[in-house]
Point group: C2
Chain length 463, copies 2
């Protein structure tokens, strides 16, 4: 037996693939997720050769890994019968993933090579968009009629257990209508009397379920809230059509998290790893929002144009423009991040907007006073130390900056916190309220606030 001290590299796997027996030994020491990652790093043709020479059940396990990124390309490089045999043995939800990733032509060809049953199940799963319960569910589950005993059910699990995605939740259906009546955990079965009907095991509450078009985020919330290992997906008649398991939900949560951060960063979600996305697709995802924000930000040039006369008379005012407007954007970005998460976690609902406004008003004022004070000190200090000369009216300039900061930061907190509510109210996702979006919104208003304060305080002196 080959014994490895360090994990096998992708290159070693490829070298071994010439000798299937050796490859099998090396692969047996790796977990399938690691094997999948190693294959991702190989050129496609080499990866396909490794897959072709792996023991069949290992190859299936590897292709079943959500970590596997290029299974469509690998399958395309294998002979059609070999590809069909592998796909046939994969779990139903991963089959659907693979087919979704394939170009139309390859998909049509490969699907014809599959068993009629698999074809039918696959066509069913492919109907659902990937961000819904139907899109991440699997059809492999254990469902038994309510008339069975615990003993019968356990024996059934023992016989089919290897083939099913999860055996830890057993779905008990009505023998006639096939409606879902109860969900029993394997744990409850194991600790139960073997002769009891399975319909009497566990608590009698109506089981939780979702529809096939339920958003995956909602599925994740339910699984997480009720600590489930899987949740059944039911059709309109209440019959189970699939289950979403906790591991698929974790993958969905992690994907949502990536989306959330990218969108908060002011771009469309990539939906692909940064390291794999093509240059052109990445630019497209970034340029859209960047241009939209740029067009919005153009209003600052218009606003500044309005105050050109003031700037001409008191250039000193222009010096503090970036400082003041960015402070508003920063406090807005903080408030938005708080509210987006509170809405996502259902700590807040749309009707709570006024509670948030009542909280953010004093919060913005408090933060504004802090920054305003620092700003005033900065100007007076520089003046006193002779580091910069803000002119004879430096006291008034400092006061203008201080008061403008209070106004801008307060406005930033209010706008940043209410924007997600407004977006939801208008039917958009509150998470579209990115940090740059808020900053742009606050920049324009911030300029107006600043120059208005300046106009009020400096009229007759500087202006």
């Amino acid at each position: 037996m080959v014994l490895l001290e360090t994990p096998p590299t992708p290159e070693l796997l490829y070298l071994c693939s010439a000798e299937p027996a050796e490859l099998a030994e090396v692969a047996a020491q790796m977990r399938s997720a690691d094997l999948a990652e190693a294959l991702n790093q190989l050129p496609r043709a080499a990866a396909a050769k490794v897959v072709a020479n792996l023991p069949f059940h290992v190859a299936v396990q590897v292709l079943d890994e959500p970590e596997m990124e290029c299974e469509d390309e690998i399958l395309a490089l294998l002979s059609e019968p070999a590809a069909a045999q592998l796909v046939e043995a994969m779990s139903a939800d991963r089959q659907a993933d693979v087919f979704r990733a394939m170009p139309e032509e390859q998909r049509a060809k490969l699907i014809r090579a599959l068993e009629p049953d698999t074809q039918a199940a696959l066509k069913e799963l492919l109907r659902y968009p990937p961000e819904t319960a139907g899109g991440i569910m699997t059809t492999e589950l254990v469902s038994v009629p309510a008339s069975w005993t615990v003993e019968q059910t356990l024996r059934h699990i023992s016989s089919v257990g290897r083939a099913k995605e999860t055996v830890y939740a057993v779905y008990v259906h009505d023998p006639d209508t096939r409606r879902l009546r109860r969900v029993v955990s394997l744990r409850e079965l194991i600790v139960s009397d073997r002769s009891v009907p399975v319909s009497q095991v566990g608590d009698g509450r109506q089981p939780l379920s979702v529809a096939a078009d339920t958003d995956r985020e909602e599925v994740a919330r339910l699984i997480s809230k009720y600590n489930l290992l899987a949740i059944p997906v039911v059709d309109e008649e209440g019959r189970v059509v699939g289950i979403v398991t906790v591991d698929d939900v974790i993958d969905a949560i992690v994907a949502e998290q990536t989306e959330a951060v990218q969108r908060f960063g002011g771009m469309e979600a990539l939906d692909e790893p940064y390291t794999r996305i093509s240059f052109v697709r990445m630019i497209k995802k970034r340029a859209g929002w960047l241009t939209a924000l740029f067009l919005g930000e153009m209003l600052t040039a218009t606003a500044m144009g309005h105050f050109e006369g003031e700037i001409q008379k008191a250039v000193v005012l222009a010096l503090f423009v970036p400082l003041i407007i960015s402070s508003g954007g920063n406090s807005g970005s903080q408030a938005t991040s708080l509210i987006i998460r509170a809405l996502a976690l259902r700590e807040l609902t749309v009707k709570d907007w006024w509670k948030v406004a009542l909280r953010e008003l004093p919060a913005g004022l408090a933060l504004g006073v802090i920054l305003g004070t620092v700003g005033v000190i900065r100007i007076l200090l520089w003046q006193a130390l002779g580091w910069y000369d803000y002119g004879v009216h430096h006291l008034l300039v400092a006061l203008t900056v201080g008061l403008a900061l209070i106004g801008v930061v307060t406005f930033g907190s209010m706008a940043g916190s209410l924007l997600p509510f407004l977006l939801r109210r208008l039917g958009f996702d509150p998470a579209s309220a990115s940090a740059p979006f808020v900053a742009t919104l606050v920049d324009v208003t911030g300029l107006v606030i600043y120059f208005s304060v300046a106009f009020l305080l400096l009229r007759g002196s500087l202006l």
Copy 2:
């Protein structure tokens, strides 16, 4: 039996609590997570009364819910023996959560009222910080000696199953050293021959495990990557001291997600729901970063001061300052969000910084050219339509803005993408690179780029 058409409200629960039998009926129709949420909404004294009158096992289930937010306050309102009895019956990881939330005095009092065994287990768990494997693990697990058969193991699970956090993973230890030898899933046991030794079930690979001080993010990554239901936490001798289950990991991932978005928004993570945190604590979490960013942004005033002469001569330059520097901040914020996630998902490591730089340089240039073109068109259009007069040198002004945008957006993409690497290299969390942080960094440099381009192009004409 009281049959409810709509879910019981917190108020109804409180009303029923006068009649424990009625309360038990109403509560039986609710899931414990929902019951916990209802109790969160009641005044503490009312919630404590409901808990006191709930059937004992239901009260324990409710307190076991991570959704429960005020269990420390409720326990404080119960009699000490009642509180101790409830805590005694809770799962070990939740006991630790409750004690962590308690004020020192209450904790010391309550811990003395517990059984010596529970006290010892609890003191052990409380040693670990809450963001580590030790801090989220439970000590309730099924561990059997390698000498047992499948039959013995299954019988053991049936007898202890109800008391253990998860029975779906069984930890097989060496009978002498108690070192972890193998992890066997309940699924594998169920489909195995009953007479086989448990040490021969499943694959023979070294089981995955983590140390008690492993970060919870790393634990989540392993559970998610290898699709585990639980991961064992082992001590230095390789003995299992606890397990982290998938549901605790989901809670940890969701908490990390909230932290990530809040930190990316430019603040310290709240670590408490927005709706529950006190005003003063919230201001503290926000004011720190806001002030730090403000101090950094002050450099813009210094930079602008350097160019006061130029602005005096060509006020038109000041008009585009917000537009240009915010575009740099926006492109930087996009790049940062991409890299933070790619690092978190391990798609990139620190040594890939140059690959990212080689990709962000052309990406920044491409995005800069797009915005620069839009900017030039905007200025020339306004001039042609007579909406604004940028003076006789408007062509040069447009060119200055266009070129400055290319420079600033490129710098923004580069700085935004490399900042997370730099932070990690300096030993900080790359996720400290918030959108406002990047914007501040880019604002100062953006001004220098803009005025340098202006100086080169406009010398002899406007300047």
